[in-house]
Amino acid sequence: MTVNEYNKSVEAYSDHIYRFILKNIKNENTAQDIVQDSFEKLWINRKAVYFTKTKSYLFTTAYRTMIDIIRKQKRISLTDDQTIFESHEENSFSDIQEILHEAVEKLPEIQRSVILLRDYEGYSYKEIADITNLNESQVKVYIYRARVYLKNYIGKIENLV
């Protein structure tokens, strides 16, 4: 990868990675640190990374760095058995995305990551599996469960204005 290609990667992917990390950990400073760390790793390994694989490399690096930080901080459990269902059937929301993102924050960590990679970046099960170090079946299960959770969180169609 050339310097020019590296800089193109910064312009093209830094926002995407930042959003993905920020949605997961809700801490701007940590999210910024993770983005910088990921690009620093990309720069160090630029000779071994093809430009076409840059995005995947950055997301993988950022995700794993984030997981390491989370584990260290022990703020969020990585298992999905702490799902607490909270229905908002009684509420109505003016913005579907607003409530969806509220619901995403309540998803178990792993489900949140895979659904964000799926919807934000349009990654396939295989690509998400590579980034998150899961197998494809696990990824699919987490995405399906997450969607059902989000659907149930929204509740009835009448809640959507």
Binding site: V3, D15, Y144, R145, K156, I157
Partner: protein
């Protein structure tokens, strides 16, 4: 079937207990028991010996049961079909099943909600420190680098190939060569002096000794570079890198009479102060110009050029080297 008697009654007993006796056999079996009350008691004791079925259960039964997709995902069948529809994972059979499910109005409403469950990234969230990540770089034109490097290589080649030795070393080398050649030919070292004396040449004047013409036209001179020189002398000549043709050419520039005779060899008033029209600097640029010309012919690269401006006496007034964006200009003599 044989008739029941005291020897085979046990077989009849077992068939009776298993319910395998026919109607006629049952009648005969009853008559036999009435005639033998002791055996009837034995049969009754047989009937008491029965095994009750155990209530032992296979506990891992659940592991053998195959789950449906929905059960595997821990969601309902309908939920699975809805999500699979969003993810475009449904096969034809599942699509038909979903269509069937959607005929129920309640399911249709739920399906609409499912379709709304698609996250969209907030474009307003941007990474503000992007400039810190960008790396500065110098734009390098690869073609320019190649051109300059090639030109430099060619220049270096011609410089090393040419006889860019200073006058002192040239003289020294020539003298060294002459002495060795004379030694090899067993010629007296005073031959030059004799010749000069006989021709009444001023001691200040010296004869420029060159090969070919002068050699062949004069038997008075000891000529270092005859065509018939032994091979070892020629090798020595190569070893010392003395460029005879160049010396000859330089001499001819100053020679007013191009026809040389034994009586009229090429002469210079003062060899030491010989006024060469072309010096090393001029030769360098001349060779460089040739080198660039050859390079352009080979590569058809018009981005590189070296234009020299010469004075009437052959010396370089100005050189101008251009390779793409790189330019070098040197002025030696202003016009």
């Amino acid at each position: 079937m044989e008739t029941i008697n005291n020897h085979n009654y046990e077989v009849f007993f077992l068939d009776f207990l298993d319910g395998n006796l026919s109607e006629s056999e049952m009648k005969e079996f009853s008559r036999f028991l009435q005639k033998n009350p002791s055996l009837k008691e034995e049969l009754e004791s047989f009937e008491e010996i029965t095994l009750e079925p155990s209530d032992i259960k296979f506990e891992n039964k659940q592991e053998l049961i195959k789950k449906t997709q929905a059960q595997h995902f821990e969601i309902t069948e309908f939920e699975y079909l809805c999500v699979a529809d969003i993810e475009k994972d449904n096969n034809n059979e599942e699509l038909k099943q979903l269509k069937k499910e959607l005929s129920v109005s309640e399911n249709k409403a739920a399906y609409t909600v499912f379709n709304a469950v698609k996250l969209q990234a907030n474009e307003n969230i941007v990474f503000s420190n992007k400039s810190k990540l960008l790396k500065k770089y110098v734009s390098v034109n690869f073609r320019t680098v190649i051109s300059v490097a090639s030109a430099a290589a060619i220049l270096l080649f011609f410089v090393l190939k040419g006889d860019f030795v200073n006058s002192d070393s040239s003289e020294s080398a020539g003298k060294q060569l002459s002495e060795k050649v004379i030694k090899n030919k067993n010629v007296k070292s005073d031959v030059f002096e004799d010749t000069n004396t006989k021709q009444n040449i001023n001691p200040q004047e010296q004869i420029l000794v060159t090969h070919n013409q002068t050699i062949k036209n004069s038997n008075k001179h000891v000529l270092a570079f005859d065509d018939n020189e032994p091979q070892n002398n020629k090798d020595l000549y190569k070893e010392l890198i003395v460029s005879i043709p160049d010396i000859k050419n330089e001499a001819l520039i100053s020679n007013t009479d191009p026809i040389m005779t034994p009586e009229n060899p090429m002469k210079f008033k003062n060899f030491n102060n010989m006024n060469f029209a072309i010096n090393n600097k001029d030769k360098f640029w001349k060779y460089a110009e040739k080198g660039i010309h050859i390079w352009k012919k080979i590569t058809k690269d018009d981005d590189i050029q070296l234009t020299n401006d010469y004075a009437d006496n052959g010396s370089v007034n100005e050189v101008n080297f251009i390779a793409s964006n790189f330019q070098f200009r040197k002025t030696y003599n202003k016009k």
